[in-house]
């Protein structure tokens, strides 16, 4: 089993329990080779898109099927009165939620970026179906807590699913986008009732800006300078609803729900769509209230689409770079992710994508001290995902050269499902026009049949991240009598995972409680404490210069994959319990007997 060392070395209560579960016969014989695949307890679809009600129904089905581990709740109400669904995955036998390092997974903050919700649902389903069946999944569920919010913008999702898909990125708090004192009064209209917000083109022989391509009659291409085409484009399907002389100028919402967060928040003229203050949006506020009351969350994943990216902050250049210690951690995780997710690049938001102020993962990293990624799900390169096909695409005469590729794919792989043929329509303002174009489910989301792979690979990356969140271990207690009732006691503290208990940025910003090393014992007094400089050489320890040595603070946490040895001079007799407690890496303790 991969990363088995994580289990083997631990002496904390959690993992002992985990092992005992595994040993206790929970593992089913499905691991063997002789039987058919075990049946799933809950069968869900991952090759179709779920609307809000379907998503909620699936969540409830899972919660009912696995009541011991799953708790369904709502983080709060969206503007439109929908639930911001949350599934908590916790094994109560291995401790209460807040005692264990947690991973927060969310999706769909942009209403049109839908497939992250299916990834989230898949994650819950997969963890539950494989608990007790797969050793590593079992260990993960036992060691960690997962908080999964599949759609943090349910209004936007429903707008996308039930409507034409147009204008679904935003949430639904009304904004007067055209400054006329009216709110959301003139959005696009599905004039021909085909469920699609089509493009409008008008046939103007010899006077237009576009022409039909000779390669494929569905392709409308701009004409070269100096030539005339037969069509002009008149924007998207709609009318002047409010009679102000403009079309579609104030659709529903009109802001960016992923710019309303508390780190590097900037006003609208610097960052469009940020609203008037951070956490003004009910959805952002509900999510933040939850995160701030769950300091055990160490890792965050916020699924978006599209492009195939594993994004980390900072969102803006002027925020400077992350501290090198933090970058090292992100790099380990991100570069591993690149190998797990073909066509995905691990990049920094501002330098690799675009500048974002007040974005969600900037807040969770800077303001909450959580290691945070945002995956942009789906890369267009995955339509023709083999080196041979990539090579064919280089040939401009080939049927899958870039301009024709999407039509080829639609014709042969999706049976023409995604393209809406141009049809004549008598527009109230523009007269005879044609409507047509691509459906909402093409482009930013994968073809439905490819979504299970997308879900699984991204889940796997996120579970890997969860597994590498900090986990503290205490071991190798040694007690040496110095003189009389004075003892030298050494303990090794080890963080067995990649992530530190407190990131360097969190320590700079003072946003995570310090780790504490405590000594308790009825007849024990701490004379001094220090870090052992070298376990194999004799030298004075590096003195810990704090007033209260029964409660030593480690403000910048314990780095990943690191062992530190503390040495106490203790006076007294009997047992001394030495404990290391951290908000994000759990608690580990040992007992030293002074005798």
């Amino acid at each position: 089993m991969r990363r088995a060392n994580c289990v083997a070395k631990k002496s904390v209560v959690l993992s002992l329990l985990a092992i005992s579960f595994a040993a206790g016969g929970l593992m089913q014989p499905a691991n063997g080779q002789s039987a058919s695949d075990a049946k799933f307890k809950v069968r869900l679809d991952f090759n179709r898109w779920h609307d809000y009600d379907e998503l909620k129904a699936d969540m409830l089905t899972l919660a009912e099927a696995y009541p011991k581990f799953l708790t369904y709740s709502s983080l709060g109400e969206s503007h439109g009165g929908r639930e911001i669904m949350l599934m908590t995955i916790n094994n109560p036998d291995t401790g209460p939620e807040l005692s264990k390092s947690a991973m927060y997974i969310e999706a769909n903050v942009h209403g049109n970026e839908i497939q992250g919700s299916e990834v989230s649902l898949y994650t819950i389903w997969y963890l539950m179906e494989h608990y007790g069946r797969n050793e590593m999944v079992t260990r993960l569920v036992d060691e960690r807590v997962f908080y999964i919010a599949p759609s943090v913008n349910p209004d936007g999702r429903q707008h996308f699913m039930a409507g034409t898909g147009s204008g679904a990125r935003t949430g639904h708090v009304p904004v007067d986008s055209d400054n006329d004192g009216l709110y959301d009064e003139d959005g696009p209209d599905d004039l021909n009732g085909n469920g699609v917000t089509d493009q409008i083109r008008k046939y103007v022989p010899g006077e237009g800006t576009h022409r039909i391509s000779h390669r494929d009659e569905r392709i409308l291409e701009p004409v070269p300078p100096g030539e005339k085409g037969d069509y002009v484009l008149l924007g998207y399907e709609g009318i002047d609803n409010d009679g102000d002389g403009r079309v579609n100028e104030d659709p529903v919402g009109g802001y960016d729900p992923n710019r309303n967060w508390g780190a590097d928040w900037q006003p609208n003229y610097i960052q469009g769509g940020s609203m008037d203050y951070p956490f003004q949006l009910p959805e952002a506020r509900a999510v933040n209230d939850f995160l701030m009351s769950h300091p055990n969350i160490a890792g965050v994943q916020s699924y978006h689409n599209t492009g195939g990216m594993i994004l980390r902050g900072p969102g803006a250049e002027w925020q400077g770079t992350y501290p090198p210690e933090d970058i090292a951690v992100y790099d380990v995780l991100g570069k591993t992710g690149e190998r797990m997710l073909p066509y995905y690049d691990y990049i920094v938001i501002w330098s690799g994508l675009y500048t974002v102020h007040g974005g969600f993962i900037d807040w969770t990293n800077d303001g909450l001290g959580m290691i945070s990624f945002s995956n942009e799900l789906w890369n267009g390169g995955q339509y023709f995902n083999s080196p041979k096909l990539k090579e064919q695409q280089q040939d401009s005469e080939n049927e899958i050269e870039p301009r024709r590729a999407s039509y080829f794919f639609d014709d042969y792989l999706e049976f023409g499902e995604q393209f809406v043929e141009w049809e004549a329509f008598d527009h109230p303002d523009y007269g005879p026009v044609e409507l047509g174009g691509w459906k909402k489910t093409r482009g930013r989301v994968p073809p439905r049949f490819m979504n299970e792979e997308l879900s699984h690979r991204n889940m796997a990356f996120t579970l890997y991240q969860a597994d590498e969140m900090p986990m503290m271990n205490a071991d190798n207690v040694s007690v040496e009598k110095v003189n009389g009732d004075v003892y030298r006691v050494r303990v090794d503290f080890e963080n067995t995972r990649v992530a530190p208990t407190i990131t360097a940025r969190a320590a700079e910003n003072n946003v995570v409680d310090p780790d504490l090393i405590t000594v308790s014992g009825r007849n024990v007094e701490v004379i001094s404490a220090g870090w052992v400089r070298d376990r194999y050489k004799t030298s004075a320890t590096a003195m810990i210069d704090q007033h209260d040595l029964n409660r030593i603070m480690v403000r910048n946490g314990h780095p990943g994959h690191t062992t530190r040895t503390i040495e106490y001079l203790l006076r007294g007799r009997g047992d001394a319990t030495i404990a290391y407690s951290s908000q994000k890496g759990g608690t580990a303790e040992v007992t030293a007997s002074l005798r």
């Binding site: 400054n179 006003p267 900072p314 330098s351 303001g367 409680d513 209260d548």
Partner: protein, 625 residues
């Protein structure tokens, strides 16, 4: 619990008042108060404030209404009084002045001034022309006590000078909340400063004024002799004294402009507090707010922004800062060297191939707007008589800066009074001769020295002489220093005088509001059902319909000029719905022209809607030559 009362003030009121507003001509200005009273009696605790507000609006609902914007953490209302004649145009469609006081818990003077502004406006309606006009055409939103929980600490218990609200915060981030606040060790009812002789100290007794301390300057041959702490014990045994007191968040450091991220007192994030959120939600629901006036430790009224658009340098009290400095390291304790993790490789540098969108938020007043700030400042000084402020703070996350930089309107802050001693030479014959020398002397004087001099001059008992105390862990210490609140709040008699003057100033601000109207309409009948409509829109106010920065920041909506005809009837000219970003005041006009098809005798409505300058309509009858 007991508290020390303000004492010895009122005997000296005449002197004090005369000195605060030297140029006064008011009849009652030099009147001696009838009786000597405890000055705290003059300040309103929350119950008294609530009663006073209810009294003020009772029977006056046509012109004044009281409501609550929300509740503080301890459940007190964030009161807001709307003052404006509700007959006529809906008040929320009229230009408004938002007045907010007492965001800083220890700045109660602003609360008291606000109360008097409310009284001034209500009392003057119908008799004073300026007030009547202001209440008929505009509206005042007055939030007299934005931080009722913090303010309440003046009225009970030991005087701490609480600036924050009462939200429990782990100020030193040690995993414990509010566990080490100050203690009144010597039982004098207030929290002073402890000075401890210590050769490791950075401070020394100020040779010019032995009651004060100064930072030792090694380059001047000085060495430190003392360490300074806030009065109290090390309750949590961490080696720091009083580093995590009760509360909280300083509400005037919790707004969105120049927000001090992750600092003690600034909150977990912008607008994190019930109180600040209540104010923000009110403000963004009332975009008719055309100007903001806050009372607090910041100033841009006595000293207008300079010709670069910057504020005057702050002048902060030294002694409290020295005591604060003893806890600077509390948030660093427990920082250990991190060994290079064994998985550490050369970190990925943020790729710089793609240039960042480099636009940064403005931090200085727009050149075009400066003149307006200067004009208002001149009027402020004239009306209030305030000429200089010895103590001011540097704004960071302050509401008044939000008001300009993000809400986009002229926005002001003032302490509302000044602890200024009369010029030394004021009574002497050689005043003019000596003034230059005095100015030079003043420059060398510390903020503390200046305030102490004022206290001495007016008999304001605001400084506790150092007296020895046997401290449980520090041994022999001396406790003394400024009395909390007193350097920031004057005796009520000063407020009784300055309050109405600020009322007058508020009315003046309202008189400057932009005011749009349809100034000229001309219709030409071209025959065949074709008409030409020519219109001029005027701003008859003083302020432009938007500040220049309001345009830059897109926070002020452009003024809309809309001709209510079918879009198809519009043949040529301006858009049916036209906008302009800003129109200067003082009668500046802007012209619009449409050619439409219609029927002779038909009426077409023209609407002009300005977010900050009101609205106007004109019914245009299609007839003409």
């Amino acid at each position: 619990m007991h508290y020390k009362k303000f004492v010895l003030l009122l005997l000296l009121f005449p002197v004090l008042i005369a000195q605060v507003v030297a140029a006064s001509t008011s009849a009652d200005w030099n009147a001696k108060p009838a009786a000597v009273a405890d000055p705290i009696d003059g300040y309103h605790n929350f119950a008294a404030l609530s009663a006073a507000l209810q009294r003020a609006v009772r029977g006056n609902s046509e012109i004044a209404r009281l409501s609550s914007l929300g509740n503080s953490l301890e459940g007190r209302e964030i009161w807001m009084v709307e003052v404006g004649n509700r007959a006529g145009v809906a008040t929320d469609s009229r230009p408004a002045l938002l007045i907010v006081a007492n965001l800083d818990g220890d700045q109660l003077v602003g609360s008291e001034i606000s109360l008097r502004i409310i009284d001034y406006l209500i009392a003057g309606y119908g008799s004073d022309e300026g007030i009547t006009k202001a209440l008929d055409n505009s509206v005042f939103y007055i939030i007299p006590r934005a931080n009722p929980d913090g303010a309440e600490r003046l009225f009970s218990g030991v005087q701490t000078g609480q600036t924050t609200n009462m939200r429990p915060m782990d100020d030193d981030n040690d995993g414990r909340t509010d566990e080490d606040g100050p203690e009144d060790l010597n039982g004098d009812g207030l929290i002073g400063i402890m000075r401890v002789a210590d050769a490791m100290g950075a401070y020394m007794v100020d040779p010019e004024e032995p009651r004060l301390m100064k930072a030792a300057d090694a380059a001047a041959g000085e060495s430190g002799t003392h360490v300074l702490y806030w009065e109290g014990i090390d309750s949590d045994g961490d080696g720091f004294y009083n580093e995590d007191p009760l509360g909280g968040v300083n509400l005037n450091r919790n707004f969105q402009h120049a927000y001090p991220y992750y600092q003690v007192g600034s909150g977990p994030h912008m607008i994190s507090e019930e109180e600040t959120r209540a104010i923000m939600d009110f403000a963004i629901a009332h975009r008719n707010i055309s100007a903001v006036l806050t009372f607090g430790p910041h100033d841009n009224l006595v000293n207008a922004p300079n010709n670069k658009g910057e504020l005057a340098a702050p002048k902060e009290l030294l002694l409290p800062g020295f005591a604060d400095a003893s806890n600077t390291d509390a948030r660093k304790t427990g920082t250990f060297a991190t060994p290079r993790p064994r998985f550490f490789r050369r970190a990925q540098q943020d790729r710089t191939g793609r240039p960042s969108s480099g636009r940064r938020p403005e931090t200085t007043v727009n050149k075009t707007d400066r003149e307006y700030f200067t004009r208002v400042s001149e009027e402020y000084k004239k009306v209030t008589g305030l000429e200089s402020l010895p103590a001011t703070e540097k704004p960071a996350g302050a509401l008044f800066e939000y008001g300009y930089y993000q809400f986009g309107v002229p926005s002001f802050s003032t302490p509302g009074w000044a602890p200024v001693s009369a010029p030394a030479a004021a009574d002497s014959a050689d005043a003019a001769k000596g003034s230059k020398r005095n100015d030079t002397a003043k420059k060398n004087e510390s903020v503390d020295g200046e305030i102490l001099k004022w206290m001495d001059a007016v008999g304001h008992d605001g400084f506790v002489e150092w007296s020895t105390y046997d401290h449980p862990t520090l041994g022999d210490v001396e406790i003394g220093g400024f009395v909390p609140y007193r350097a920031k709040n004057p005796p009520t008699a000063v407020i009784d005088s300055l309050g109405p003057r600020h009322g007058e100033f508020a009315v003046h601000l309202a008189s400057l509001f932009p005011s749009v109207r349809v100034a000229k309409v001309e219709v030409t009948d071209h025959g065949g059902g074709v008409f030409r409509i020519e219109v001029e829109v005027e701003n008859g106010g003083f302020f432009p319909t938007s500040t220049a920065h309001g345009v830059v920041s897109r926070s002020v909506k452009p003024t809309m000029v809309q001709l209510e005809v079918d879009p198809e009837a519009l043949l040529s000219g301006d858009a049916k719905t036209s906008f302009f970003p800003a129109l200067e005041g003082s009668g500046k006009r802007r012209a619009f022209e449409w050619i439409i098809s219609g029927n002779r005798g038909e009426t077409v409505t023209l609407r002009v809607v300005s977010q900050k300058g009101g609205r106007d309509t004109a019914d245009i009858v299609l007839r003409g030559e």
